[in-house]
């Protein structure tokens, strides 16, 4: 959802098929094909796939961005297991504004979706009304930047 929100803020149309199906043709994200290939290789854990994927990504974004991508992949290898291992439901605001998106992407079919109650008609309507506000509300509702600017 942050991917789509970021695209809307930047005035860029983002096709989220790259996330669920790996189809990067119309993703709207620079170098999406190489990023997705690298992410898929890391999740697969096969060095024979990782090495060429890494080299392909380096060739288009450089070393520093490739290292960033490895870090993000590592982070989400973690986050998915925290979510799946504790059975947390989607946060209510996210549940509402992402109902259409989840249906579009088919992720309601994931086994772990059973921990989140279905979104009703009124919830969907509320979510649609709230969606344009997501980029701005998310910044205001979340934790605040620490005053010393060094806290995690």
């Amino acid at each position: 959802m942050l991917l789509r929100a970021g695209g809307e803020m930047a005035g860029t149309a983002v096709d989220l098929g790259a996330v669920t199906g790996g189809d990067t043709a119309n993703s709207g994200v620079p170098h999406a094909a190489e990023l997705v290939r690298f992410a898929e290789a890391i999740v697969g854990g096969d060095d024979a796939e990782i090495t060429p994927a890494r080299e392909a990504l380096r060739a288009v974004v450089g070393d520093a961005a490739m290292i960033d991508a490895a870090g993000v992949a590592g982070n989400f290898q973690r986050m998915v297991r925290i979510a799946d291992g504790t059975g947390i439901p989607l946060d209510t605001p996210v549940k509402l504004v992402s109902a259409d998106l989840r249906e579009e992407l088919g992720i309601d079919a994931f086994g772990s979706a059973s921990e989140t109650s279905p979104t009703g008609r009124f919830g969907r309507l509320a979510g649609r009304l709230m969606r344009p506000l997501v980029p701005f509300v998310a910044k205001r509702m979340g934790p605040k930047r620490p005053s010393d600017d060094s806290s995690v």
């Binding site: 930047a10 994200v29 297991r81």
Partner: protein, 293 residues
């Protein structure tokens, strides 16, 4: 003061063994007699990337070093030796034939057998099985399975801390695998007993484990959720073991973005990737793991 130093002080503040004795313990080194591979860290700075072909941002090894230091120490529910043994099982699980067979089964609970695990592990079979399932098939776990663990010696506190260790090791090892770097040797465990710390403000909500409600972290754990009326469930998920939340925030800030910046879809300070590129990688990894959240 550097972030790593602050985290080290946090640990020391709870009467745990500090850096000096950590280095002293590590100086003994150790090898796994079963496979001859180096098993624990040798006396050299951990996460030194000087010999690697990459110029890696300093905040990454700084975060990883703090995690390795914490990994070796007694936690809330497990000893240092048990925590390192959990980390060792994370690595074993990735080539475990039983896990492969289970992954292919219609139900992950329909296949019994013995995991490929470390010889003479200090962990119970149940704990080993828990680690392997979290590593290789987390999306098919269930509330019933988690609730049954308590009767088998893995309380909710043990479970959450075990999960916290599993995900630290996975996130750091995945980073190394992505860069084609050898995995960091595990730290030498430190002596001591678990603190048994169970934070105030826990509530059973809809998750499988109790969590501290946003805004209700208090006392020595008041730092967990900083400011703002909302804290995402994924941040609160491990709050039964507050150090696991601190660990999550520490590594995420280096590998992804700081928790306070997650909701800002334009934030990418200090990164060579744009935020949209970051979220694409995040989303693809989550989808491949069939993570709904």
């Amino acid at each position: 003061m550097k972030k790593e130093e602050r985290i080290g002080q946090r640990k020391l503040g709870r009467g745990r063994t500090g850096c000096d004795s950590h280095r002293g313990a590590a100086s003994h080194g150790a090898r796994n007699p079963a496979d001859g591979e180096e098993r624990y860290a040798l006396p050299m700075p951990s996460f030194s990337y000087e010999a690697s072909p990459w110029q890696i941002r300093e905040d990454l090894p700084a975060a990883y070093r703090a995690e390795w230091q914490g990994l070796a120490q007694p936690g809330s529910w497990w000893t240092g030796a048990e925590r390192v043994a959990i980390a060792e099982e994370v690595r074993r699980a990735q080539g475990c034939p039983l896990c492969v067979e289970r992954k292919q089964a219609l139900s992950p609970f329909s296949v019994d057998g013995e995991h490929a695990h470390a010889e003479a592990s200090v962990l119970s079979d149940v704990a080993i099985d828990t680690v392997h399932r979290l590593v290789t098939d987390a999306s098919r776990l269930s509330r019933t399975w988690v609730e049954k663990l308590a009767a088998q010696g893995v309380s909710d506190g043990h479970y959450v801390e075990l999960l916290g260790v599993v995900v630290v090791v996975i996130s750091i090892d995945s980073f190394h695998q992505g860069l084609g770097l050898p995995l960091e040797p595990l730290p030498m465990p430190e002596a001591g007993e678990p603190t048994g710390h169970r934070p105030a403000g826990l509530e059973h909500e809809t998750a499988w484990v109790p969590m501290i409600q946003a805004g209700k972290a208090q006392g020595e754990d008041a730092d967990l959720f900083s400011g703002g009326p909302q804290t995402a469930n994924v941040i609160r998920a491990l709050s039964l073991v507050p150090d696991a939340v601190r660990s999550l925030k520490n590594v995420s800030a280096a590998q992804y973005v700081p928790t306070w910046a997650v909701g800002d879809p334009s934030y990418s300070e200090g990164r060579a990737l744009e935020r949209g590129q970051i979220e694409l990688v995040a989303g693809r990894v989550s989808a491949l793991n069939e993570c709904f959240y």
